[in-house]
């Protein structure tokens, strides 16, 4: 999925939409408060996240071996495992599985990896109906939109907007703003779809290498309907989702639900061990696991960037990001928006095309502060900014140096030339203070600054001049 307009334009557009701004502000304030209530003691939180970080770091350290072990464990449990290097491969693979069984009706649980693959469009183009059954995903699918948040895909809409949409798009639906009634309406539609579906598709929150267990965290029950009712279940996951043992799951799960929605536990935690066994009354006849790379092994190869893969997709970084809060997820024009998307997207798609996105962060650090697995997002942003403008670095980041412009390059050289020569700096400071009111507001940087701020005016005398007047020792 590629941006048609730049991040700056789409962000400006979102900023101009009071409804979007209000919806996000309210939602993010609520989510921040809920999360804070789940971590009342900062020391407990630190202890929990250190454990979470250690588990994820250990899993990644052993990643190749754990993936092999996962495959073997899954096979032992009767889960068939497939590997996809690219999104295209993943799509073809899934289509192949469906076509071989004559499946044309697919119900989907929530899966960001399937969004990454653009699976729905691909399947629909090949005659398969792919219906989202997560309420948020269902809502945005009705409007042919993409998720604006990885946990709460329809968070950009309020209940009035949803009420209007349901009354227009769902057959025989009457207009109501009652949330329970709206939910019941969606439920009625989806119930039938679950029973009619030929196949179900889900994501994976954690895959346990040791036991071959696929863990699925959800609140609505649609996840288990998608994975248990149809005769065929296909799970898709990024290759980083593997953990070593079942013991690893509990601490990560606790961090995930608390960080994401401020819940101590989710309504459901599905542990899928394989297809329906002999004598069992329900469950799919076949279970398949598709493991997607899509640039992850390249990220894995870099010791600093590897921390990106620790992500457990809780979305806390988005909920706490002042930029995300103001512009919303769609402005990022990426599958994964917000801070994690800011580092993940350029690593997947190349730093050049996403140069502007990389600068859409004030490096305030709120994301890293709340990240349950301590991903140093601001540091990685700065690293990727360097990759975007420099070709020389020995790294595997795609599109290195392609974000470089001659103007920017010259500006920084000039900047360094002035600031590494104190006399030149003093002369510049002298000019800035003496001609302080004469600095033209039309200068490019000042023009941007003064879009919403008064022009800054330097002091009459610089500190260095004041200090000289006082006669302080230089040392």
């Amino acid at each position: 999925m590629h941006a048609e307009t730049g991040f700056r334009e789409s962000a400006a557009q979102a900023l101009g939409d009071p409804q979007i701004r209000a919806n996000f502000r309210r939602a993010m304030d609520g989510l921040m408060a809920k999360r804070a209530a789940q971590f009342p003691d900062p020391e407990d939180f630190q202890a929990m996240r250190h454990l979470g970080t250690a588990i994820r770091a250990r899993s990644l350290l052993k990643l190749p071996a754990l993936l092999e072990q996962l495959e073997a464990s899954c096979l032992r449990n009767g889960i068939q495992v497939h590997w996809a290097r690219t999104c295209e491969e993943g799509n073809e693979l899934i289509l192949g599985l469906l076509q071989a069984r004559g499946a044309t009706r697919l119900v989907k649980g929530k899966s960001m990896v399937s969004e990454e693959m653009g699976l729905n469009h691909f399947l629909e183009a090949h005659g398969v109906e792919a219906l989202e059954s997560d309420l948020g995903e269902y809502i945005i699918q009705l409007d042919q939109e993409t998720p604006s948040h990885i946990i709460m895909p329809a968070i950009h809409k309020n209940k009035t907007q949803i009420a209007r949409q349901f009354s227009q798009k769902i057959k025989d639906a009457k207009y109501t703003e009652d949330v329970d009634e709206l939910t019941a309406l969606a439920r009625k539609v989806l119930r039938r779809k679950f029973f009619e579906a030929d196949a179900g598709l889900s994501g994976v929150n954690f895959a346990v290498a040791d036991t071959g267990t696929l863990c699925l965290v959800e609140n609505e029950g649609n996840g288990r309907m998608s994975t248990h009712v149809p005769p065929l279940h296909i799970a898709v996951m990024g290759l980083e989702k593997v953990v070593e043992t079942l013991e690893d799951v509990a601490p990560l799960y606790a961090l995930l639900t608390r960080s994401a929605t401020g819940q101590a536990v989710s309504t459901y935690l599905n542990l899928i061990r394989g297809p329906r066994g002999p004598g069992e009354l329900d469950g799919p006849r076949e279970v398949h696991l598709v493991i997607l790379d899509n640039g992850r092994s390249r990220i894995y190869a870099d010791p600093q960037l590897r921390a990106t893969l620790r992500c457990i997709r809780c979305g806390a970084c988005m909920n706490h990001c002042p930029v995300y809060t103001r512009v919303g997820g769609h402005a990022f024009q990426a599958v994964y928006p917000g801070p994690i998307g800011t580092i993940l997207t350029p690593q997947m798609e190349g730093v050049g095309v996403r140069h502007e996105l990389l600068h859409g962060s004030s490096l305030c650090g709120a994301c890293a502060e709340v990240c349950p697995v301590e991903i140093p997002i601001p540091e990685i942003i700065v690293r990727l900014r360097r990759e975007a403008t420099h070709r020389d670095a020995a790294s595997a980041v795609e599109g290195r140096g392609t974000g470089r412009t001659a103007t920017e390059d010259l500006a920084w050289r000039l900047w360094a030339a002035v600031l590494s020569r104190p006399r030149v700096y003093r002369l510049a400071a002298w000019c800035a203070t003496r001609f302080r009111r004469l600095i033209p507001g039309g200068l490019p940087l000042l023009k941007a600054w003064t879009l919403s701020r008064a022009k800054p005016v330097p002091a009459r005398r610089s500190l260095q001049e004041r200090v000289r007047e006082e006669g302080l020792p230089h040392g």
């Binding site: 103001r326 600068h359 709120a366 360097r386 360094a416 610089s462 500190l463 260095q464 004041r466």
Partner: protein, 245 residues
């Protein structure tokens, strides 16, 4: 043990926009019985280039600055952001360079001003001013890079006639972010405006902070809105309240 002498590093924003804050910082230190050295040749810590990925340029500037502080005494800055850069990011910036060890030793001596006043000097302040209500905005880097939490508040808490009104969404970024303010002026501007609104809503007559960047940003937004609320560096405020005229 209290050091006899410290270096003062003015920072470029304080040098050009808030010299009174710099002077106040120096005076607060001297009053606490510390001799203050102010090396000539100060320009910038190099953070803007570093944050934008221009490491060679950042290093060229940083290297010149480190050389100004040869003595093994503390280096005090009236800025959380520049202190964070020098303390936490110089070692990384100079990783693998011939002067890495020297830079590391320098980084270990760097302190933000309020941190130094409280944690090292344990200063006691006496309020000589009229009752006033102020509000406090932490700079993100002071807060999250340096872990400065409580020091500014403890200094303000020593002032009997100063009421500290809590700022709504205190921990949220004001939108400055160095080049972010001009690369994404719409987003940055909306953050600055919201911060200004939150400050106005406190009913305080001043917004205090420890960073020139935040001050410039919030002040710009308040001025554009035509608000009378004044923005001031904490050092200047502390000095103003505690010295006999």
């Amino acid at each position: 043990m209290q050091p006899e002498r410290v270096y003062f590093y003015g920072t470029c924003l304080v040098d050009l926009f808030y010299p009174e804050a710099g002077m106040a910082g120096i005076r607060l230190l001297r009053r606490a019985g510390v001799e203050v050295l102010f090396p000539e040749g100060q320009t910038c810590c190099g953070q803007p280039a570093f944050n934008c990925g221009y490491r060679e340029e950042a290093r060229a500037v940083a290297r010149g600055q480190v050389a100004l502080f040869p003595l093994d005494i503390p280096v005090v800055l009236p800025s959380g952001s520049c202190a964070g850069m020098m303390r936490n990011h110089y070692p990384e910036l100079f990783h693998g360079e011939p002067d890495e060890a020297r830079v590391r030793a320098f980084s270990g001596r760097v302190f933000e001003l309020t941190q130094f006043l409280v944690d090292v000097l344990d200063v006691r302040l006496e309020d000589l001013g009229e009752p006033v209500k102020v509000t406090w905005h932490s700079s993100c880097h002071a807060l999250r890079d340096l872990g400065l939490e409580g020091q500014p508040q403890s200094l303000l808490g020593q002032l009997a006639n100063v009421e500290l009104a809590p700022l709504g969404r205190e921990r949220e970024c004001c939108g400055f972010g160095g080049t972010f303010a001009v690369r994404h002026p719409e987003i940055s501007g909306s953050m600055a405006c919201d911060k200004a609104d939150d400050a106005v809503a406190t009913g305080a007559s001043r917004v205090l902070s420890t960073d020139g960047g935040c001050l410039l940003n919030v002040q710009g937004a308040l001025e554009a809105k035509g608000e009378a609320l004044r923005v001031q560096h904490i050092a200047e405020f502390l000095w103003e309240r505690t010295h006999a005229r």
